[in-house]
Symmetry: C2
Subunit: 349 residues, 2 copies
């Protein structure tokens, strides 16, 4: 098990040159040209010895790390895998490696991870879709900035507005989805959110509200519902929630949920309570996770470009690391409304 690593020195010795020469050759630092013959010899020896540069030493020496920290709430939530894949793919192709953390939306967890990331001198961090931790979290993120570690946020509020973000047109997307329901004759439409990311949720709520208002519908408090968390364990609150919604007078005929996982739980709860979807109750989700088109009935929802969001956030982060001018602090992508079967017009019923 105990094997010594091959170092620059080993290569140097075997090739009868100095470590400096080897270093230059390996790095391709062409400023002072090395004679082609020795260059070849060194390269050969290096290959023969299977030399691998020690990244830790390189970083210690001052080279910026190749590590990216990726902070998400929970990889098990179907929204995240695609984002993560987008980030890692782009990261790898840019020469970075990504360290994955699941925070479960817990601020202490996040704090711990951020400390680790600082110790590691990572090149940058991407923080994705977690609850907005407010002041406390802003302070946390600020400590990264203090160490010169850039941060970009994906699908989440901009905190103090200072952090570059990648997200979609949340307001517009919600407006369109709710408008779809309204045009289908629905007048009482519930809004179910999950306490995820304040900034984004505000936008989504605005979209919902503005749609109702645009069509002269009443925006009343008994239409707003809240689910503690998006974690699967919590989702079993859905039964109670659906019951509550059903008791409302006048009758609520449609639900707009700000996440597919929530919408799916609502549908499941409805089935258990013998409420037919969409005949008795229309449901619209948000995200368009893989599941959405496979469940029964297929979920009407709003697609988010998850993979692209991951990629782009990595691109933005990279340009921050390289200290290039970042043209736009926040990138806004276009969502897409996907009508399927879980919502229908009232007349069809």
């Amino acid at each position: 098990m105990e094997k010594k690593r091959v170092t620059l020195r080993d290569v140097a010795k075997k090739a009868n040159v100095s470590v400096a020469t080897v270093s230059i050759v390996i790095n391709g630092n062409n400023q002072m040209r090395i004679r082609e013959k020795t260059r070849q010899r060194i390269l050969d020896v290096a290959r023969e010895l299977n030399y691998q540069p020690d990244l830790n030493a390189q970083i210690l020496k001052g080279k910026t790390s190749s590590m990216i920290g990726l902070l998400i709430p929970d990889i098990t939530n179907p929204f995240y895998p695609e984002v993560v894949r987008g980030v890692t793919d782009k990261a790898n192709s840019l020469g970075y490696n990504v360290i994955l953390f699941n925070s479960d939306n817990k601020l202490e967890q996040e704090a711990f991870f951020i400390d680790t990331l600082k110790s590691l001198k990572v090149a940058g961090v991407i923080i994705c879709g977690v609850d907005d931790g407010g002041e406390q979290e802003a302070a946390l993120l600020a400590t990264l900035d203090r160490d010169g570690i850039p941060v970009v946020a994906v699908d989440r509020g901009v905190l103090n507005g200072k952090i570059p973000s990648v997200m979609i047109e949340n307001r517009e997307a919600c407006f369109e989805a709710v408008e779809y329901l309204i045009k289908g004759g629905h007048k009482r439409i519930a809004f179910v959110e999950t306490g995820q990311s304040v900034g984004i949720m505000e936008d989504r709520f605005r979209g919902y509200k503005e749609a109702l208002e645009a069509y002269g519908l009443e925006v009343s408090k008994d239409l707003f519902y809240h689910l503690k968390s998006t974690n699967l364990e919590y989702l079993h609150q859905a039964n109670g929630l659906v019951k509550k919604i059903r008791r409302a007078k006048p009758k609520i005929t449609a639900i707009f949920a700000t996440a597919d996982v929530v919408a799916i739980e609502i549908i499941r709860a409805a089935k258990q309570l013998n409420i037919r979807v969409p005949e008795d109750l229309s449901v619209i989700g948000f995200d368009d996770i893989q599941l959405a088109e496979l469940i029964d009935p297929p979920l009407t929802t709003v697609w988010q470009p998850k993979y692209e969001m991951g990629q782009i956030s990595m691109i933005v982060l990279n340009s921050m690391i390289k200290e290039e001018l970042v043209a736009q602090k926040t990138v806004i992508l276009a969502p897409k409304f996907i009508p399927r079967k879980s919502a229908q017009s009232l007349k069809e019923a």
Copy 2:
């Protein structure tokens, strides 16, 4: 942006002690006790200055890294998120950080990642569920061993048998699932596999075959089918596959697929071809991904303890890193058969 890191020396200077003292205090290396007063002072200064040890320097100095490499085919495949979560949770609680790689089952990708991992001097690597790359891959993994980096395999073949593995009783699980079909009166049962991990697939096939044999059913070649990959893009081969299966004479009445993602695609294909599941065709999957119980009809399948597999592999890896005796080279977990609606007895039809 450019901020100098706080080093041991900074703390030492401000606390009027030497770096050695600070190092001892910070590391809690209690062998030589430091006077409580200076200890406190140092700790205070460290906190005040927000000192963070430089992990790269520590590693360079010889401390084993806190990094774990986690190699999976594709986080976007619903089987993996839970495994990954299991690994990262346990890793974090043991003080490791995990670097995630998606290989897409490409050997070159894998080779590249493994090189990186070596450069990083990671403490260990977990390789999960990828195709068995045979000789070539074994050679690759051997290079890790040569550098003293331990590897554990999860849900995949044991290669040359030298790598500790975590998996389930694949043969038994398949036997039980196929037996269930047989007891339901099915006589012609197709076996659809995905070319994932040779070792495991062999076990699964054995389970299938032994079940047929145990009940005196014919094991004929026209019952075996193969899907190129488990990647979603490839899954659209499913239509052709189902058509082919349907053409077989005598009629095939049930399909056993070695992955839920495949089973789900088969069901979708069947629907498109106006074949009713389970009335016209029973389908059983493998894995019990989240999706399985949500689709229509809910999928009969074999549950794998995904999260636990992740956790346990990390535990095994940790004891290898710590050079503890590893009691058992391979850990075998128990799967569970989950009957739902996608398979039914022939008489019910």
